[in-house]
Symmetry: C2
Subunit: 210 residues, 2 copies
Amino acid sequence: MDKGLLVVVSGFSGAGKGTMMKRLLEKYPGVYALSVSATTREPRPGEADGREYFFVSTEEFEDMIAKNELIEHARYVNHYYGTPSGYVEKQREAGRDVLLEIELQGALQIRKRYPEAVLIFVAPPGAEELRRRLAGRGSETEEAIAARLNRAVEEAEYMENYDYLLINDDLETCVEKLHALIAGQHMRSREQLPFIHEMKKELKALVEGE
Amino acid sequence: MDKGLLVVVSGFSGAGKGTMMKRLLEKYPGVYALSVSATTREPRPGEADGREYFFVSTEEFEDMIAKNELIEHARYVNHYYGTPSGYVEKQREAGRDVLLEIELQGALQIRKRYPEAVLIFVAPPGAEELRRRLAGRGSETEEAIAARLNRAVEEAEYMENYDYLLINDDLETCVEKLHALIAGQHMRSREQLPFIHEMKKELKALVEGE
């Protein structure tokens, strides 16, 4: 069995990443695993430890950094966020493609440490549509929406750093595109080195046996 | 409309590239264009000028090299083979993905001159299967089969240089995989720079207008 891929999914807040991941996992059970991040922020109502996040203390988080147990981590608004390596590696070894829904800073760390990772940026079809989606949530103040759009301006500067750009116009189409895109990445030569080595060996044996 | 991709398809003689290309073009009319190579070798019975190859004289071919009218060229067994750039560029501008069924030497030239090209290597599931397919053609002598296998040993050394490796076990499955793979390549960020620039501009305008 092939080792699963490391797939980073980033995108503007409001681009629909969360819904897309959820749908992808539902449609293809057993194929993907969603990495759960650790964070030092407080759980919000409805969030469960180990489901949305692993909620840990600052001391525990810094201990994980010191022990090199995180494949990436970042600080936002005085809180740590990071990806524990144990779960990711276990799932990849089991042949599942692991999805990391993380932000720019973490994605750039992954790019450096795991050159084989697949980096995907999810964007809405346009800026106006992004604002509409953010406003449509209903839960955000005008200030919060403005802050998210300001952050989107910063993030947009790094869109080219991602391998792929997925434009989220329609959820189902987008989920299918994402699935096909990831399936295609298993065909990369770098993922098939055991096959290549075997083929070389077999061909040589065949020619020498002629 | 997006500019079409430059897709190189190489593989061992007997891997089934030709059949696969033909089926891909049939199934998705208008999506792909198959580049026709120029060659100085004589036409074989049933081959038509402009269909299998453009048959040209050595002088004409060397003139094309001098005028930089070939995107790649190579010499095999005292004959030139090369890809005229005019057709390729016209088809790409029309949004069609251009398939170049060429050999290793040409593929490596394309890799250097067109870093954005997608290089795909087609291999049978194993060496024994390759020999079976070569023998199954019926038209080849034992010596010719041995020569093709020897060449496969050399070519196998370069399989890792290709971006993707497509294992041709079943024709229809393989054609679908190839189609999905190429479709996915259109989602590369580098193919979507106009969208990225537009998104940056729109976001800035939106934030400044708030």
